[in-house]
């Protein structure tokens, strides 16, 4: 009875949700070489090619505003690949081709007239592997605000850096050594530094690829708190291998399997009453 109540509540919430991003019929291929051509023809062509990895197959996803969306699925199913579709980071990968339509607030982000640089300022990303710049902790966080001109003076910048580091739950550990190299931090600290760096540019959508994979339970709880906090203003998409985490932080969940989107819907429904048997076996730990 209680479950039902909560479900209807979330249903109501999602009903008023504004659509932020929308993906329709997205296919991603790796190892496509320099091939180009009309989108539909190329997709069919690449799908038939044995040497090309068909990493994402006709995926439709809606990312609502002020919502946390979780991507779950076994390793290698294409979660990271699909996440990179959303901010066109796949463009930077040699031989990677994306077909289909993705929109941000109704605008096609794969339109030839769209500057991916501008897109990425709006759709920020935390990578699966921590990749701090080999610069000081301060410069790591300050880099985004600097290139986007988000601060008017030094004090302002220092303020943004401090706020971002606090939100990423790392301020207390690094406040005395902001000049130390970011690469000298521990793996988990580096990951939180990267989160702070991404948050500092105030993106509208934040893509997080397994942000808690090397964090202890305390830091994980703090990052989850941050995600919840971000939800009040932004959309967050999080890839996670932890079912509990997906259930805790997300309102929507997408389950990927072998490049297909098997099931997408309200988190509560996916975890309590999945409609696809593959989803059920995955969340109960039988495939993966």
């Amino acid at each position: 009875m209680k479950d039902l109540n909560e479900m209807s509540q979330t249903d109501q919430e999602s009903a008023v949700d504004v659509l932020k991003m929308q993906a329709r019929g997205v296919d991603v291929f790796y190892g496509a070489g320099g091939r180009t051509g009309s989108a539909a023809g190329m997709a069919a062509d690449l799908a038939a090619d044995k040497n090309v990895t068909h990493a994402i197959k006709g995926v439709d996803v809606d990312i609502a505003d002020k919502t946390v969306t979780a991507f779950i699925g076994p390793s290698g199913c294409g979660k990271s690949t699909f996440l990179r579709v959303l901010n066109r980071m796949n463009d930077t990968i040699e031989g990677c081709r994306v077909t289909g339509k993705v929109t941000l607030e109704g605008e096609d982000i794969y339109d030839p007239n769209v500057d991916p640089v501008q897109l990425r300022a709006k759709v920020g990303m935390v990578f699966q592997k921590p990749n701090p710049f080999p610069k000081s902790i301060f410069d790591n966080v300050a880099y985004g605000p600097r290139i986007h001109g988000l601060s008017s003076n030094k004090a302002d910048l220092a303020d943004i850096v401090e706020r971002s580091l606090r939100r990423a739950a790392i301020w207390n550990e690094v406040k005395d050594r902001l000049d130390a190299p970011g690469t000298g931090l521990s793996g988990g600290q580096q990951q939180r530094l990267c989160i702070a760096r991404a948050v500092a540019t105030s993106p509208e959508v934040l893509l997080m690829d397994e942000p808690c994979s090397s964090l202890d339970p305390i830091a994980t709880a703090q990052v989850e708190e941050l995600i919840d906090d971000l939800r009040s203003r932004y959309s967050v998409v999080i890839v996670t291998h932890s079912m509990q985490q997906a259930a805790r932080v997300s309102q929507k969940t997408a389950f990927f399997h072998l490049g297909n989107l098997v099931e997408f819907g309200d988190t509560d429904k996916i975890f309590t009453n999945p409609s696809d048997p593959r989803t059920e076996s995955y969340i109960t730990g039988r495939i993966g």
Partner: protein, 450 residues
Amino acid sequence: MSDVTQKAPKRSLFAPDARTQKRNRAEKRFQYYGMAAVGVGIFALIVLLTSILGSGLSSFRQTYISFPVDLLAERIDPEGNRNPAEMAAVTTFGYMPLLAMSFQAHLEAEGIEHEMGARELAAMLSDDAPAQIRDRVLANPDLVGTTIDVQILVGGRIDGFFKGRVTMASAERDRNVSPAQLVLAQVLADRGDVVTRFNWDFITAPDASGQRPEAAGLGVAIIGSFYMMLVVLALAPPIGVAASIYLEEFAAKNRFTDLIEVNISNLAAVPSIVFGILGLAVFINFMEFNQSSPLVGGLVLTLMTLPTIIITTRASLRAVPPSIRQAALGLGASRMQSVFHHVLPLAMPGILTGTIIGLAQALGETAPLLLIGMVAFVREYPDLMSTHSNSFPLMGDGATALPVQVYSWTQRADPAFVERASGAIIVLLVFLVVMNAIAILLRRRFERRW
């Protein structure tokens, strides 16, 4: 199950098994190979350095003779009005007898015994000495008619006697020197009239003809090499680094860029003399730049250095982890920002190494310079702003270069030039060491920024 555990009996960690021992022996052996290889290298280096220093260091010292010279007015200023323009009509041949007479008079006045004729005595002095006196007189006409104390070069053979190259026995067989000259030289040396001292002229003076090795210097060659390095430094690193960044970070990977890549690798392997032919055809015949000018030399060496710089720069750009670029791009940096803010600083040590290697190569290169005429005998210091009308107004004067000077000195008959050539190699090596030291310092600076 129990069978298996019995077959592998428990071993102590302190007793290495046969496999470990074998592996350790292989490792030891490999270390010995490595040490032997390093040893061979060090041995070769020591042999090289001792042979070059042994035969070349003496070129930094030169033997001089001092005696008073009567600057007879009727000989060097026949018009008698002390006008340098008119006095310039008297060539060095007019000064030679003056020196010979003064030398003879000096020996008589001091009561030094010898059994030589005037000609044999005069032959002890360098052919270059009259020119030195003449320059001094023309610079200061008031000296005419006075007696001045001079210190002038002795001939190459006498100099060789004090450096151990010429002996009494060899003088017997040598047309250019007699034992009597050597005996007198020794007497004068014992009196302190003949001294061997440090010779700045070796570094600053221009080349001299084959008959007067004692006066030959590296001045023109050093300036020529320096100007060429300026040209290479101004052109090769910017062009090379820009090309590498474009090819590595921006250009699409397709057949065309593959072709370029293959061609750059091939160019790096092209014999350097081919670049000389190219320079001759393009810069001298087509663009009509002055031949043997540092400008043309520098351009040829730039072409030769570019492949080296491009290959090393691309390798060091490729060594920067892609995750750094992705981090920058993911934050909304443009491709150029990601390259200039993050990738380039990380690749800088490698780029510097490649650039310095390229420059060092260029500094030591001879073959292409021979083809563009830099082997010419040049006694004039090249002008930075040359006045040659048919040429580009910068560095258009003829010059020669250090390695070419080494080459042309080794071609000359007089054995004194062997010493000169070795001395020039020492100068060249010093420049190379300085350049490498600068490279190491710069690299340190950049590496400290992690």
